[in-house]
Amino acid sequence: MEVRFPFKKQLQQTASILFWIFLWHVAAVSVNKNLLIPIPLPLETAVVFFKNCKNADFWSAVGVSILHITLGFLSGAVLGSLSGFFSGSSKFFRYLSSPLLHLIRSVPVAAFIILAWLWIPTNLLPSFISCLMVLPIVHIAVENGLFAVDPKLTEMARVMGLSATRTFFHIKLPAICPFLRIGCINGLGFAWKSGVAAEVICNPTGSIGALLSSSKSNIDYGQVFAVTLTIVFLSLLLENVIKFIWKEPKL
């Protein structure tokens, strides 16, 4: 008989995290002997992190970055859904959008940040960059969702006189949704990475990225690690919020 442990998955995840923290600790201890600027130990980072948590300015920076990235993510998801839908429905639009999407996917994010900084105000730049990174991911997800629509179902709908609108809502949209959900979850990770990178480079006032950048300039590596940890937590938190709100459909 198979023995089932309660919280088996959670235990495995915790063990995995502890393993990597242990490795970090070992690396920090061994590397620090030869370096002028030490790698902060996990415990030191945790102390800085909790100190930050008591600071109102830190939470304000967290709020500003969440706003930047959420705004960018949402606009990227909406634009990507629309362009993906048109691309999946029309060959002309697919050929037209293909070079632009290829460009967005292949140009390094740092190059985009520097280019966009010439025209876009600093406070809007992180949102713009997040939007730009999310757009192709969601576009491809929606396009693939449309390709996955069962032609036998649309054929049946056609013969049985179902309107185009009802065919979209009852046949196409349910087929697109699982792809869109995965696209949004992946896109959110990219939105965080690129949005914070834009904040680090262009330093919009009172953001997490600006805090990260100033900590680096002040050679405060404890703070750099603590802020990075915060970014990871926030990214995971928002990803789980999406997963909680938008559950995988069970058929």
Binding site: K152, M156, M160, G161, L162, H170, P174, P249, L251
Partner: protein
Amino acid sequence: MIELKNVSFSYGTVSCGKTQPAEKTRPLSDPAAHEILHGLTLKIESGSRICLFGPSGIGKSTLLRLMMGLETPSSGSITGIQKLKKAVVFQEDRLLPFATVLKNLTLFGSSLAAHTHLKALGLAGQENAFPSSLSGGMKRRVAIARALTRNGDILFLDEPFTGLDVPCRKKTADYILSQSAGKTIILVSHDKTEAALLQSKIINVASLNT
């Protein structure tokens, strides 16, 4: 009256799982273009019941697809069917996997009709079930109930009783007949007993090809 005049149809190459009429892919003189129907002529009176009969591969389902407007004839014409309200039971159930049984029906007709047909076909209590939880026979009956809910002028039935046992076939056929008074029924089958169950006139598709 539905009239098919000198209808021919050929399948060409197969690309990405979709067959294409031959004239779009290669000339009909090309020996590789596979002609299914040739110079077929048929008249179907409104309100009649016919069974397109013949062995597998003879072109029964293709003929049905032509009449439903899902394929275009390579030559010839089909008239008197375009404006009719069509209902269909395909060879496969073609149920929406992400919708409940009831939703699968109410998309095409009234909720009252849907409940009535489900009850009559022994599916009462399955309204909120998803197709994946149903047996093959139940899915088949849902597909039939959906076509009846549509309440069309013409009912296309492509091997509608596949997966149903003999008593169930009889009961289902009787119910289809009771709900289709005055409507045209076009059945496709390779089984004469199915034609008898639906009291339909047997037309051998092979004999229609000139």
